[in-house]
Every structure is written in C-alpha cells, then in structure tokens.
C-alpha cells in the first residue's frame, strides 16, 4: 500500500467537472501530471498532442462516449499502447466488461476510492513501462521491420512459409579467446562485435533474430519481403568480414587479440512466425534451410573459408560477387552431398 508509484502523465476524461476535479486532485497528490478532457473527442485530440502514460476514461459522455474512444484508440498505432482505466458506477458492470473486451486495462468504481486509485494507476503505469521496455528491446534486437510487423499484426502468433535467406555467423575459437580475457574484456569485445555485425546485417535489410553467445542467426526476406535476399545476405556477409578486418586493426594497435568469423548462408523455404507466448514472443524461422545454414557455418572451419553458401544463394548472385565452387561436400545431418560455394572476399 505504501509502495511508491513512479509519476506519470495521465489524462482524465469525464464530462462531469466535479469528477474531473476529484480524480485530478487525487492523482496530483500522488505526484502525477494530469491533463483533462470533457468528452471523447477532446480526449483523442489531446492524446495525439502529447505522450500520455495512462488514461482514465468515463463511459457515458456527450459527443463521443467511452466505447467510441476505446474503439479509436485500439485501431490507432500511436495510441493503442496507452493503458486505459475505465471509471464507472457500480451498476454499470456490464459496460465495464464490454470496455475490457474492447481493450481497457482495468476499471475503477465511482466514487473512486483513493487507495484503489493509487494501486490501479500504479499497476497500469507499470504495465505501460514494461510494454515500452519490450518495444525498446524489440527495436534493439530486431529491426524496424520486425517491430512494425509486430505492431501491425498485434503480436499474432502463427507461421507461414516464406522464401528467405538464412545466415549463421560466429566467432572462430571464441571459447579459448574468452578464457584468455577478463570477463569485462569479453563482454566489451562481444558488444563491439555485435554492434558491427548488426550494422552490416540491418544495412542490407536483414533481421537478427537470435543471439547465442558469439553466434548470430539472421534472416533476409522475412518478415518483410526483400527483392533479392540471397544477394543482400551475401553483401551483408562481405561487409561483416570487412568490419572485422577493421576491428582487428584496432585490436592489434591496442595489443588485444584479433578475431575471425565464419558465415554460412542458405536460401530456400522457411517456416517463419512468432514463437513463444503472447507475453514474450520472438520472430524466428525454422526448417531445413535454417539447419543447413547452421551446418555450413560450422563447415567454414573444415573448408577454411570465411563465407560458405549453397547453390540457391549462388544462383541469386549478380556477376559482381565472385564465388568459388568447392564441389560436393559431406555435411553433417545431410544424407546427400551438398554443393557448396565459397564467396571470395
């Protein structure tokens, strides 16, 4: 009960001035910044002008009522993450249920009990913060495309077949490298490495969807289609090698160890979709294409070449990218031999 609530920017929507005053006073006493609207139409106008953390919404209002506001907010990409707490009289519980079904977060019975008010606002703001954080995370670990796709699909979990190019990459002999460094140095190295790789991959329209230790899995061509995902994946891999070369120059001059990376790229059909739960979902791809890409990346050690690709990726390349046919190779997990190519760096 005595839990401190982090202040937020709140909008109180009620056609009755006494209610507005009461709610506003209660909220200001709790340290929040409060703005007011007398009806739904005004509320939407104000919501669009300023960034709000939460809205307290009355149901029965002239001009535009609470239901209409909820409907507008739910279909508005900019507004739909603002938690809405419906304020209503006790006998309107039916309406409250309808509001919750329409996307309202919670409800408060009028006259509002200050203790409940504090608790519900606190919970609502906390949810908003978590959602903002989640969005930040998605932005950091995925690209704008995935964030947008997630936004538009409203986190619909479900898969589909997509033609895409899948890339696996990791640092050669990272384990022994890690053992020779202090933990802080290892993390710093990884962070620099990730920054460089992310730039190269997203610069070519790729989406990073898995980071495990020093390994990265990226997809080109999903969730949003790319015109030539095979070539773009290869271009990204060439940039990655180039960036690692530059990074190594720095490392040498700072008397630090250099790193080498291996990259495998395979083009084909993948099953793409969001996996996980509604609370925590990640965009990913599975299927043979993905498995083979991982195998090729591992095979770079055997072939002693930094970038290996399959024949489908090879076929998508323009003449400006030079490749070397390495012939058929026995790849772990494959019954048949696979024709592999090395991209000339």
């Amino acid at each position: 009960m005595g839990r401190n609530v982090t202040p937020g920017r709140l909008l109180v929507v009620d056609d009755n001035k006494v209610n507005r005053l009461l709610l506003g006073r209660g909220l200001e006493q709790q340290g929040h910044q409060v703005a007011f609207a007398e009806n739904g139409r005004q509320a939407l106008e104000i919501l669009h002008q300023n960034g709000f953390d939460l809205m307290l919404l009355d149901i029965q209002m002239p001009e535009m009522d609470g239901y209409q506001v909820l409907e507008k907010v739910a279909s508005d990409l900019e507004l739909r993450d603002i938690p809405v707490i419906v304020t209503s009289a006790l006998e309107e519980l039916d309406s409250v249920v309808r509001c919750i079904e329409m996307g309202a977060e919670d409800y408060l019975i009028k006259p509002v009990n200050p203790v409940l008010l504090r608790a519900r606002i606190g919970a609502g703001l906390e949810k908003k913060r978590l959602r903002d954080q989640q969005r930040e995370l998605i932005k950091r670990f995925a690209t704008a495309e995935v964030a947008q796709d997630l936004d538009e699909s409203g986190f619909v979990l479900g898969g589909r077949f997509v033609e895409a190019s899948v890339m696996f990459s990791d640092i050669r002999d990272f384990t022994s490298l890690a053992e020779s460094q202090s933990p802080a140095q290892v993390i710093e190295l990884l962070n620099t490495y990730y920054t460089l790789m992310f730039e190269a991959i997203s610069g070519q329209g790729g989406v990073i969807n898995q980071m495990v230790g020093d390994g990265l899995m990226s997809i080109f061509g999903a969730p949003l289609p790319l015109l030539n995902h095979g070539e773009q994946a290869v271009r990204a891999s060439l940039e990655m090698i180039e960036m690692i070369d530059l990074f190594n120059l720095d490392q040498v001059s700072a008397n630090r160890p250099t790193i080498k990376i291996g990259i495998g790229i395979v083009t084909g059909q993948v099953i793409a979709g969001y996996t996980g739960t509604l609370r925590r979902a990640t965009y990913t791809c599975v299927g043979d294409t993905v498995n083979l890409a991982a195998r090729l990346e591992a095979y770079t050690k055997v072939a002693k070449q930094p970038i290996l690709i399959d024949s489908a990726t090879r076929q998508s390349l323009s003449a400006t990218i030079k490749v070397e046919d390495l012939g058929l190779a026995d790849i772990k997990g494959k019954n048949q031999q696979v024709n592999i190519f090395s991209v000339v760096v």
């Binding site: 009755n16 001035k17 006494v18 209610n19 005053l21 006073r25 209660g26 002239p62 009289a89 006259p111």
Partner: protein, 117 residues
C-alpha cells in the same frame, strides 16, 4: 421525517481529510454550479423528450453527488437516469421538480459546510 441526512458526514469528512479543506471549497462551488447546469439540461431534455440525454445528465448528477456524500440526492438522480435509459419519461416531471427543490436544500447545506470548514 428525515430518514437520512442530506449529506453523509462520514463520506464528506473522509473526502475533506483526503483532499484538503481548501480543495473542498473549490469542489463544492464547482458542484453547485455544475449540478445547477445539469438540472437545467434535464429540464430541457424532458421538454424535448430526449430520453438519452436526460439519462446521461441524470447519470452525471448521480455520480458527482455520490462523491460528495449527497447520497439521497444521488439516489434520486439515479431514478431519473433509469427512466432515461428505459426510454420512458412518464412521471419524470414530478421527480425532476422534487430534485429541483431538494437541490436548493442541498446547496444550502453544502454552502454551510463550506463556510464552516
């Protein structure tokens, strides 16, 4: 004859404690003004046979009156709200007239509280 007080003092006092005496003055003045306007709107809606807006205005009065502790008055407004919702304003005129009279009394009572606070 008085079954219940015009203002439920525990509710009112709690509100005053929570919100502060100065704020209560502003609140009472706002309430009196706002409720007066809403009653005018009720009369207008009744004249025009606008059951929906009649119900909505009554709803608004019900809600703010309950907050201040004017529980009997809030209950009266609720009856009017229900008539509006049922789209049947038969007998609303009498009830509205009673509400109007009681509002004068309530207003005085609130002003007394305000000045005594």
């Amino acid at each position: 004859m008085e079954e219940q007080a015009i203002i439920d003092m525990p509710t009112y006092n709690q509100l005053k404690d929570l919100m502060g005496a100065e704020f209560i003055i502003e609140l009472i003045d706002t309430y009196n003004l706002e409720t007066g306007t809403l009653i005018e709107q009720l009369e207008q809606a009744l004249k025009e046979g606008e059951a929906t807006s009649f119900g909505r205005c009554a709803h608004s009065i019900k809600s703010s009156s309950a907050s201040l502790g004017a529980l009997v008055f809030s209950q009266q407004a609720r009856e009017l709200e229900m008539m509006g919702k049922a789209n049947d304003l038969t007998g609303a005129e009498e009830k509205l007239a009673k509400l109007n009279v009681d509002f004068v009394q309530l207003k005085q009572c609130l002003e007394g509280l305000r000045d005594g606070s």
